[in-house]
């Protein structure tokens, strides 16, 4: 009888031990999972920080699409200097009373333009982002300069007065004239 009781006690102890072990193992697994989760979060955070720290070339256009000259120039410079591109498509007439026709066309043009730009950028290994803005170009540039400390310089598209942007920007501003426009300018000056 005593032996039986002793065996029973031993069995109970064994069961308790295995229970404790499984609990400990489970806790270990949970802590590993948690550690993995936090590691991923930290990695994501660091990646986004690095991404934010990487300097940006800001391309600004008031049309729904970038001109060929600006697109090519921006991509070449970004590739050469290892920078990322940020395109600001500024809708300068957001409150136009036309039943939203202009806004819809603008949005479609932006989509087409960004798809085209991203296809070209992929070949060169350049990161491209875009924002859709509305209002005055100078105000938008001023706000983006305050928001992003990492803007290296700004390239404005044709139809934007560079003088207006320079006043509000905290970084250098350039414009890219295609050879055709330059030739036209030269002709008119002669």
């Amino acid at each position: 009888m005593v032996r039986k009781l002793q065996r029973l006690m031993q069995n109970i102890q064994m069961i308790n031990n295995t229970r404790e072990r499984t609990m400990a193992e489970k806790a270990d697994e949970k802590s590993i999972e948690l550690a993995g989760y936090y590691a991923n979060r930290i990695e994501d955070g660091l990646a986004s920080q690095n991404y934010a720290k990487k300097h940006v070339i800001l391309l600004v256009t008031r049309n729904g699409h970038l001109t060929e000259a600006v697109m090519t120039y921006g991509l070449n410079v970004a590739e050469r200097l290892n920078l990322r591109l940020l395109v600001a498509y500024v809708n300068t007439m957001p409150l136009l009373c036309d039943g939203g026709v202009r806004n819809n066309r603008f949005a479609e043009a932006v989509q087409d333009s960004i798809v085209d730009l991203r296809t070209r950028a992929r070949a060169k290994g350049v990161l491209v982002d875009y924002v859709r803005e509305s209002g005055r170009v100078a105000k938008v540039v001023s706000r983006l300069c305050r928001t992003l400390q990492s803007i290296a310089f700004i390239i404005v598209d044709k139809d934007i007065k560079i003088e207006d942007v320079i006043v509000k920007a905290s970084v250098p501003v350039f414009n890219v004239y295609s050879n055709e426009i330059r030739r036209q300018g030269l002709k008119s000056s002669h």
Partner: protein, 284 residues
């Protein structure tokens, strides 16, 4: 003087025109203050029956535009490589905004400026006034298309505890961002008393003494303080002065208790808000 670091900015907006660029300004401000941004949008609680107006899914129809605005705000922040968390609530807007501010430990609440008349405010509700009165932290009101800058800060000084607190906040901002502070004292004397001999000059003398004390505080922090004493309605004086001097930010003190007549005639803050050309910071 105690510094007031801003770690969390709560941008509360709806999908109206005035609030179109509010989250963008919040991001710009957060970037300069190294703070995190929380965008909050509140669908007003509706308990009626819209089916009688042949509107199905009324709640969905009220909620969807706000959620879309929040999604757009988040996408905008992501495309700039910045972080922004979004919260959507349903209920009374002012209560929900205050609740979120308390939960998240917000240091600054950003609101859009609805340029309403007093009658409109009485009929449509006074969300801004209630958030200012019951909120746990400072409130920054941004008019449509206004830019947040701290180059020229105007502070209304009246000698009250709240106005002194606002003065401290203005000096703190000016010393951090390298701006200048304009201190304005307004002698608000009723017409019958103003006609009595010596009343106006006494009030002006009292004003100059208060302003002088404030200048000495500015000297301690090496902040340039420009002073003025004017006599008229406080709100009219503040707005005229802001327009005349090209002020970037108006700082006002907030009293925690509201008098009954404020509800019918509006407070100074509400009057300034409805006409101001630049952002207004209400210090608490």
């Amino acid at each position: 003087m105690k510094k007031h670091p801003v770690k969390t900015i709560l941008a509360a907006f709806n999908n109206s025109r005035e609030n179109r660029s509010l989250f963008k300004e919040a991001l710009a401000l957060a970037s300069s203050m190294r703070a995190r941004v929380i965008a909050v949008s509140v669908t007003p609680g509706y308990e009626g029956n819209m089916n009688r107006f042949f509107l199905k899914d009324a709640e969905q129809q009220l909620t969807e535009p706000l959620q879309k605005t929040l999604r757009e705000a988040k996408e905008y922040a992501t495309s700039l490589g910045l972080q922004m968390s979004t919260i959507h609530r349903t209920g009374k807007p002012c209560d929900e905004i205050i609740a979120v501010a308390n939960e998240e430990g917000a240091d600054l609440i950003l609101l859009g400026c609805a340029k309403r008349l007093q009658v409109e405010r009485m009929l449509l509700g006074r969300t801004t006034a209630e958030v200012i009165m019951n909120g746990p932290c400072d409130v920054l009101l941004i008019p449509e298309d206004a830019e947040i800058r701290f180059d020229k800060i105007l502070v209304g000084i009246s000698g009250s505890k709240a106005s002194i607190h606002a003065g401290h906040r203005a000096l703190d901002l000016a010393s951090t961002y390298g701006g200048e502070v304009h201190a304005l004292y307004v002698t608000d004397i009723p017409t019958d008393r103003a006609l009595r001999y010596g009343v106006r000059s006494d009030a002006e003398k009292k004003g100059w003494n208060i302003v002088k004390e404030f200048v000495s505080l500015g000297d301690d922090l090496d902040v340039p303080v420009i002073t003025a004493v004017k006599g008229n309605m406080p709100e009219a004086c503040i707005i005229e002065y802001a327009k005349e001097k090209g002020i970037n930010l108006i700082v006002l003190g907030s009293k925690n208790d509201s008098l009954g007549f404020d509800m019918f005639f509006g407070s100074v803050i509400e009057h300034v808000t409805s006409r101001a050309p630049c952002p207004i910071l209400v210090a608490k």
